[in-house]
Amino acid sequence: MSVLWWLLMVAIVIAVVAVVLLAVRRARRTGSVLASRMSDRGQR
């Protein structure tokens, strides 16, 4: 029983880590609309 319990816990931890990693990967892909060459104007 306890072996099965441990296996289940390990599986859950692996699944959670995988979901987090995929979410981070996905978030890193998110782009934006950027306006460049505005540093001088921004400081005025």
Binding site: L22, R25, R26, R28, R29, G31, S32, V33, L34, A35, S36, R37, M38, S39, R41, G42
Partner: protein, 188 residues
């Protein structure tokens, strides 16, 4: 005039006309906040979870921007040199545009920027902004002009531009044309 929201270019595949392969997809859309010209794109690799691509695509290397893909002539159009010469290399000074507060020249709050409107075709430009009023009612479109100022926090719209504000994107194309032409004639 074919208009597109810059946001709708994100995630579009970059396809080589010579090979029919999708070599990348659009990540950031970068335009020049002063000249309003489209500078280019940073790229992601293809695939749901694929990471960022080091190479960039300058607007000059684009063969065409369509509703379903950004077309390039050959795969060499993607610049592997990290875009140092093109203005796409160091985007540290680049500002987020979406979410900027919109102020009229007399200081009243007109809402916030929800989209940048680009004209597609052979020489893509930023032609306008889509605004959401503070009361969250329907969005409207305001044309970009030399007088419009954008800081990364605020977008200040000159008084004469408000006359050209439209509530639909189709009518906005015509409005941009009529708004631009006197200005262009002056320059010539």
């Amino acid at each position: 005039m074919n208009l597109m929201r810059a946001r709708d270019l994100m995630g579009l595949p970059v396809v080589s006309i010579a090979s029919g392969e999708d070599v990348a997809e659009v990540r950031d859309v970068v335009y020049d906040g002063e000249a309003h010209r489209l500078v280019g794109f940073t790229l992601n690799k293809r695939g749901m979870f694929a990471g960022r691509l080091k190479a960039v695509l300058t607007a000059g290397s684009v063969a065409a921007i369509g509703p379903d893909a950004v077309m390039i002539d050959t795969e060499s159009a993607i610049d592997d040199s990290d875009g140092q010469a093109s203005g796409l290399g160091d985007l540290g000074a680049a500002r987020q545009v979406i979410g900027n507060r919109v102020l009229s020249a007399d200081g009243s709050n007109l809402g916030e920027v929800v989209a940048v409107i680009l004209s597609t075709g052979s020489e893509p430009r930023a032609v306008g902004y889509e605004l959401q009023p503070p009361d969250r009612s329907n969005t409207s479109f305001v044309p970009i002009s030399a007088q419009i100022a954008l800081s990364g926090e605020n977008l200040v719209v000159p008084a004469e531009a408000t006359a050209f504000v439209r509530n639909d994107l189709a009518g906005f194309g015509a409005a941009v044309a009529s708004y631009r032409s006197p200005e262009l004639e002056k320059n010539q």
